[in-house]
Symmetry: C2
DNA sequence: GGTTGGAATGAAACCGGTTGCACAACCGGT
DNA sequence: ACCGGTTGTGCAACCGGTTTCATTCCAACC
């Protein structure tokens, strides 16, 4: 395996010059640069990332923390982040937890010494816990907003409100909201949005919390039916899928007792069936968050400026 | 940030002794070990992975290559692998591609210089391409078997065959198989299993290839209906979901024109509805594969023995 | 023509661990 | 009392780059 030393020798220059020729060519005469580059090519030189990392104080590794992998909402986010990181030559590693137990916090503390930055998606922990974890290492939140921390979130609240309004306009007078995890920021946002939209205009039953899985959608059917709602809005696409299954199994037709889904590529399929839906571009979310993180990594001086909370608009449609 | 030097100083020993006390305690007197450990704790010492990597020639990073993140089949695998890796103090990074294009191969070539080992899940590339990629770096295949390479695969063929037989026993005489990606090894296994089971006993229409998504399930409904099949077996849970949606939308009841699903936690929900199903424990798959990889990493001498192809049994149920 | 300053380069320190080798202390055996 | 053999420890080299600092060379300037 060719090292920088070999390249330098082959090119007849010192290791220092070879290093500069490869990473900061402007500091070296064009002729020398050409010679070094040529030697590197001939020898099939690939710089050792580990050595670079040790010398540069950077690991070349960033971590994304997600509360669960079960919820397919997070996979496009991961992919978007991964692509963006790869474009900058960085690796992405995954840690799975919600940042809401002492063990989680300790794990993140350790992890923070081993990576250059964090992407923290939908953490369940308290504001101060999350803030503590994000302090001392460049971090960007996803789908959670906390003062003082940069974040990228899907602006689903607006869409959920519109959805509720759409149902009311169509004559529904009793709406059910099947809620997601208790400590989810997005869940709180959505509940508030739906509450605001229905206030004084329609009955609203908030159910939950339910984990964002198909199984819990099935499980929630009973409560939905009991609520007497004619329109249902759920926290997540997976829950909606379960709802539709369960309602069908009970002999209820689904475009009829309308069900709404959010957050997922599955929505594309639901869209085909004429269901109202909200579509979050998770890949974009991940990409943007990683972009922000990379910016912070490359210009560490700009801690000062107020970290931006970026709200990414989502697509939604009321009619099928 | 505390370094080994600080710990050594604090404990009143040399850097070398401190290092040994932490990584090879048997070489150091118990009393000294205790003292060093104590100092490390007090100072909050976390070993610098990069330095360890440089000195040890290991990166402490392993990669899992998956063809897509869209198919939720892979997420439990990733989680299982991640947990197992974390238990050994290794990071897991994700690369997304099917190992079937020149760009993919080049990317993997580069990646192989930056990680200690590969987990390659369901690669689409030819045997020799995959073999070439897995050569020169410890690798374990998941859901793909190739002579000469260690692998861990779900033994779904058996289950698919049983499923088909079950349908036939129940009187179905026309079965449709909605196939997955063309170059998927598992898909080929499953088609063969279903063909063998139906041979001479039932008509069989093989449809596809379809990507493993809900949308393609919806898309496949037309072809399924056209085939006249009264029982449908699909390659993946996501496809089955789409099928059920689409069939329902056409006014067809689903336990009735039976649909089978595979490979997913979603199956749990389907099970609730009485649909026949196959359940693969992806987490176990990922865990086992990572275990095999870790073994290879820790004992590099044993290249010699024939690498084992491990077939993990899957749970399946014909009746609801 | 001597001084000044910038460009190009090399020697060596450094990042933070691991490990081969040397050395001292201490063991039981004869 | 002497010796081969552990055991415990420290020194220094090493992994493969990056970076600081000093040095050399040359063109420009007064």
């Amino acid at each position: 395996m060719a090292t920088l030393d070999h390249v330098a020798q082959h090119a007849g220059v010192s290791k220092a010059t070879a290093s500069r020729a490869l990473s900061k060519p402007s500091l070296v005469s064009p002729a020398t640069v050409a010679r070094v580059l040529d030697s590197a090519r001939v020898l099939g030189f690939v710089p050792n990332r580990t050595a670079q990392a040790l010398a540069g104080g950077r690991t070349g590794l960033v971590a994304i923390v997600v509360p669960t992998l079960e919820n397919s909402f997070f996979t496009p986010i991961i992919r978007g982040a991964q692509e963006q990181a790869a474009a900058s030559g960085l690796h992405l590693t995954i840690a799975v937890h919600g940042l809401d137990s002492p063990a989680d916090i300790a794990a993140l503390e350790t992890l923070s010494r081993q990576v250059d930055g964090f992407l923290i998606a939908a953490p369940r922990g308290d504001d101060d816990v999350v803030t503590a974890a994000a302090t001392g290492i460049p971090s960007v939140l996803i789908d959670r907003e906390i003062d003082g921390l940069p974040s990228v979130s899907a602006d689903t609240a607006t869409a959920f409100g519109e959805l509720a309004r759409g149902f009311i306009d169509r004559g529904h007078t009793s709406i059910a909201f099947v809620g997601g995890p208790d400590r989810s920021w997005q869940n709180a946002q959505r509940i508030t949005a739906v509450q605001d939209a229905t206030a004084g205009r329609s009955a609203l039953t908030v159910l939950g919390p339910y984990p964002a899985t198909v199984a819990s959608g099935v499980e929630a059917v009973e409560a939905v039916v009991a609520s007497g709602a004619t329109a249902v809005i759920s926290y997540a696409a997976s829950i909606s899928l379960g709802l539709i299954f369960g309602l069908n199994a009970r002999g209820l037709k689904v475009p009829g007792d309308v069900v709404v889904s959010a957050d997922d590529g599955v929505v594309a399929a639901l869209g085909l069936l004429g269901a109202p839906s909200i579509e979050v571009d998770g890949e974009e979310l991940g990409r943007l968050a990683m972009q922000r993180l990379l910016e912070r990594l490359s210009s560490p001086g700009e801690h000062a400026d107020a970290p931006a909370k970026l709200a990414v608009p989502v697509r939604w449609s009321v009619a099928g």
